[in-house]
């Protein structure tokens, strides 16, 4: 009998297993976090879902998310201070967006990211973006339509625009940390901004009209040098960046027709091969781009039945793409002097010994770097029309 009591006592040790047990309604599901630096202190804002407002059954029509804010010496402290305001503990396991304020980014972002990379509750598959000209709190304080949870709207918009336009780039925390730490590549992040009336943004009224007073939209890429933000790229340059780094899935590019007018090329497959090498002791990078596409729209009078026309269009595309890429590289080499493309990495991979010699002064070397570009475009389809009806339109 004593033995059974003993066994029971041993089993009771296991009864303490519920330490991290939390019911679903004890969580403050946080889908977006914003980090700003104001007067030397971190201000963290958390966009938390109000579950009863998400469900169509129990919704009362008020906002589906709420924003908690707290200040602290460190990000972690600020997060914990949020419990002063929030009835439930912040649960960041499903975080989708991390918005960093532009001021913070200019001072350096690394310090604020440590907690997010270290905490076990966080997955590192959320996107990191920079609030352009605004604080992160202001970005998270705008109600949105279609996706009524703003964090989801930001996440999905970035995902869609990245894969079908390629002027933005969704960068997850993992990728960002890899960029910040690796040699021969600097980080970029996509910018996010609020357009319209910031005053109405937070209220439900914002989404009650067909055109919301304030909308969250993505801008183009932010250039980093080390862990500091140093400037912004234009749309053309952002596309150039994606072309160079092989991040294009699909996009549309307008080109000029042989005569006058424009044509749009729908790129359906895009592959960039980046190879570093040393020529006569100085580093060089070869970019070989293999692209495939369709003629998407023709706004000029050309004869698409002729294969020469297609060849000509291919040539024009190749030339114009080279132009964009050259322009982008030029801006980075001369204006920002920051290797965001990872050219250094490519050279390192091809010749680690020589790389060691130039590693220290890579920023200077980068500005002098020769980049050889080769573009091959193949056009396959012209859609359901061959020649545009424009030719037949009566004058």
């Amino acid at each position: 009998m004593k033995r059974y009591v003993f066994v029971l006592l041993i089993f009771s040790l296991f009864l303490t297993g519920c330490w991290d047990r939390r019911e679903l309604n004890e969580l403050a599901i946080t889908l977006a976090l914003g980090i700003d630096k104001i007067e030397g202190e971190y201000e963290v804002s958390a966009q938390v879902v109000v579950p009863s407002e998400v469900s169509p059954k129990s919704s009362t029509g008020s906002s589906p998310v709420t924003l908690f804010r707290a200040k602290g010496e460190t990000v972690y402290e600020a997060l914990r201070k949020m419990t002063n305001e929030s009835p439930r503990k912040i649960y960041p396991g499903h975080l989708r967006m991390l918005v960093l304020g532009e001021e913070l980014a200019k001072e350096g972002i690394s310090e604020s990211l440590d907690l997010l990379a270290r905490d076990w509750e966080l997955r590192s598959d959320f996107y990191v973006v920079i609030a352009k000209d605004k604080t992160a709190t202001e970005i998270l304080n705008v109600s949105t339509t279609i996706e009524n949870i703003p964090a989801n709207k930001m996440f999905n918009t970035l995902k869609t625009s990245e894969s079908s336009l390629a002027s933005t780039k969704g960068i997850t925390l993992d990728e960002l940390i890899a960029d910040l730490t690796s040699e021969g590549k600097n980080a970029v992040l996509t910018g996010i901004e609020v357009k319209g009336d910031q005053e109405v943004g937070p209220s439900k009224q914002n989404v009650e009209t067909i055109t919301p007073s304030a909308t969250i939209t993505y801008d183009y890429l932010a250039v980093f040098k080390g862990n500091k933000l140093i400037g912004w790229l234009t749309e053309r340059e952002s596309r150039g960046y994606n072309d160079i780094t092989n991040s294009v899935k699909s996009t549309v590019m307008p080109i000029s027709c042989p005569g006058e007018g424009e044509a749009s090329i729908e790129v359906i497959d895009f592959n960039t091969d980046m190879k570093g090498k040393f020529k006569n002791g100085s580093p060089e990078v070869d970019l070989t781009i293999e692209a495939e596409g369709n003629v998407g729209a023709v706004e000029c009078k050309i004869d698409l039945k002729e294969t020469e026309t297609i060849d000509t269009l291919e040539k024009i595309y190749e030339k114009e793409l080279k132009g964009i890429i050259n322009e982008t590289i030029d801006t980075l080499q001369n204006k920002y002097e920051s290797d965001i493309f990872g050219f250094g990495k490519a050279i390192h991979r091809s010749n680690p010994k020589e790389w060691k010699k130039i590693k220290e002064q890579w920023n200077e070397e980068f500005s002098e770097l020769t980049v050889n570009i080769e573009v091959n475009m193949k056009l396959h389809n012209t859609g359901t029309l061959s020649n545009s009806f424009l030719k037949r339109v009566k004058e």
Binding site: F14, L15, G17, C18, D20, R21, R22, E23, L24, N25, L27, I29, L31, V49, P51, S52, V54, S55, K57, S58, Y91, G93, H94, R96, E121, R123, N152
Partner: protein
């Protein structure tokens, strides 16, 4: 545990073999020569039971010989008693050969036996023990004054259920016959399917008071001799006052009485028994129940329905896989739900998490309590549905569906997702073709829910490992329970998780049957050859 087991095995060992009826009757047990004395002893010991009928008659020339006829009313076929016994004995046919022989003063018992009784089965009787057994199982007893001997005339007949469609194991395609309560009908149903001289039936009588007939059936030369011997041994060790259902036998001879998993298969379908005998298994039939036991029983056997073999192999395989899937749902669905929603929220897709959270807003219980409440309610409904008189069944299903389905959710006591999980579990637990394995799953589900509530997925994993270990440690009459999965046997996979076409299954299961393994011709010849047919048509 050990304490109990020891006691149990001691009990089995100390049991003495049943007193054989062939033993020489001692003085007290022997019949008396005086008819009146015999009848008095019978009346005393049977306590004047009203269903035992004593009829004293006079037979022989001018009725000089006194005789007694004793039978149990209701168990004996009265017309045949009237026509073949009373009439032959009593109607005084002058010049009848029989009357002459009777009066000749020879051994009257043998004369009656050889010349008079126009019934099929007849036996001598010298002891009271045999008399009681015969009398109480419906035979007619004839005692004659002056002889310490009697006759047992077999003319049993009583009201019984005929061969009807089995209710526990139904099929869409397949025979509709089911076993009944009469062991003779049951052996006949098996015999009709296997007309092989090697189909041997061994009979035993178990139960000191009930004297229940038990029959062991096996295909001699196909069944493993060691298994047959083991079954015989275990049956002989049973010493109990009564056997009322095959469940008694099952509990007394099974390998692991404490395991929730059945190691003996039971069925009410003769076709399943015939198929099992062909595979080399042993069937145990018990009088008074339509449920026949089959040993050795393997884990996978409980997921094989007879219909698997009657319909096409592809759909049979699909359905069999579906059953294993249903098993895992029935076992794990509530515990996984508890573990994921209370410990591992990160595993849920965000949209699902928000939807579940929204449902849980305002629910006063933790997920575990919620799940327990629902599962217990479901078990209550289920048990009530089984025990309740049929006529009020619809009332209960209305109440059940209303309480569980609608009201609990609308009142905000239970979240809708939990109702979905519990219903899914319930449906999945009804999928298994045998009731017994579903019972094990039903019980273990609660253990897994407790493990999930205290340790999350970790608890489920540890529990699952323990479950697998337990299953692998089980044996059924010497055959590993999880075979042919563990130990793995490639050739037996043809009829385990999936069923291959019949022409691919040309050997019997390996571990159950060791000799005479070939079921059909060689595999190359087994497959139907369409080219032959074309040639015939061409002629």
């Amino acid at each position: 545990m050990r304490f109990f087991r020891k006691k149990n095995s001691d009990g089995l060992k100390s049991s003495t073999p049943l007193p054989s009826q062939k033993q020489n009757p001692d003085q007290k047990n022997a019949l008396k020569t005086d008819l009146q004395a015999n009848i008095k002893i019978l009346k005393d010991s049977l306590g004047e039971s009203s269903d035992i009928i004593f009829r004293e008659i006079r037979i022989g020339k001018e009725g000089t010989i006194k005789a007694g006829i004793i039978f149990t009313d209701g168990l004996t076929d009265t017309p045949s008693l009237q026509n073949f016994i009373l009439e032959t004995l009593m109607i005084d046919n002058k010049g009848n050969e029989l009357q002459k022989k009777m009066s000749a003063g020879k051994d009257l018992i043998n004369v009656l036996k050889d010349y008079a009784m126009t019934v099929g089965e007849i036996e001598d009787l010298t002891s009271f023990d045999v008399l009681y057994t015969g009398l109480l199982s419906g035979d007619t007893i004839i005692l004659i004054d002056g002889y310490a001997q009697g006759l047992i005339i077999s003319n049993k007949q009583w009201a019984e259920r005929g061969v009807t469609e089995p209710s526990a194991q139904t099929v869409v395609r397949g025979p509709r016959e089911g076993f009944s309560e009469n062991i003779r009908i049951n052996t006949a149903l098996v015999r009709r399917r296997l007309k092989d001289p090697n189909l041997w039936t061994e009979s035993k009588v178990i139960g000191r008071k009930t004297k229940t007939s038990i029959a062991m059936m096996y295909l001699n030369g196909v069944a493993n001799d060691k298994v047959v011997e083991e079954v015989r041994l275990r049956l002989d060790q049973i010493d109990i006052d009564g056997i009322l259902e095959s469940g008694y036998i099952e509990e007394l001879i099974e390998d692991s009485p404490y395991s929730p998993f059945p190691t003996i298969y039971n069925t009410e379908r003769p076709d399943i028994v015939a198929a099992a005998l062909l595979e080399g298994r042993v069937a145990i039939l018990v009088d008074g129940t339509p449920f026949v036991l089959i040993v050795p029983a393997l884990f996978v056997q409980f997921f094989q329905a007879s219909e698997d073999y009657y319909q096409r192999a592809d759909i049979a395989s699909f359905i069999r896989l579906l059953r294993f899937f249903a098993l895992s749902i029935a076992l794990f669905a509530p515990s996984l739900f508890i573990a994921i929603t209370t410990f591992h929220q990160a595993m849920l897709p965000p949209a699902l998490l928000m939807s579940l959270t929204a449902q849980r807003e305002g629910v006063p219980f933790p997920a575990f309590v919620e799940a327990m409440l629902m599962e217990l309610t479901f078990e209550l409904l289920r048990e009530a549905g089984v025990r309740m008189p049929r006529s009020i069944g619809s009332a209960m299903s209305i109440v059940g569906a209303f309480v569980v389905g609608t009201a609990a959710v609308e009142a905000g006591i239970i979240s809708a997702a939990m109702v979905i999980v519990v219903s899914l579990t319930a449906i999945a637990s009804f999928v298994s073709p045998t009731y017994d394995i579903a019972i094990a799953v039903r019980l273990l589900r609660f253990a897994f829910m407790i493990a999930a509530a205290s340790f999350g997925l970790f608890g489920i994993t540890v529990g699952f490992i323990a479950l697998i270990l337990h299953l692998c440690s089980l044996r059924s009459f010497g055959v590993p329970y999880m075979s042919p999965l563990a130990p793995f046997n490639m050739s037996n996979q043809k009829d385990t998780l999936i069923r291959l076409p019949r022409w691919k299954m040309f050997t019997r299961p390996r571990l159950i049957n060791q000799k005479d393994v070939v079921r059909q011709q060689s595999p190359a010849d087994a497959k139907p050859d369409p080219t032959n047919r074309n040639e015939l048509e061409g002629d």
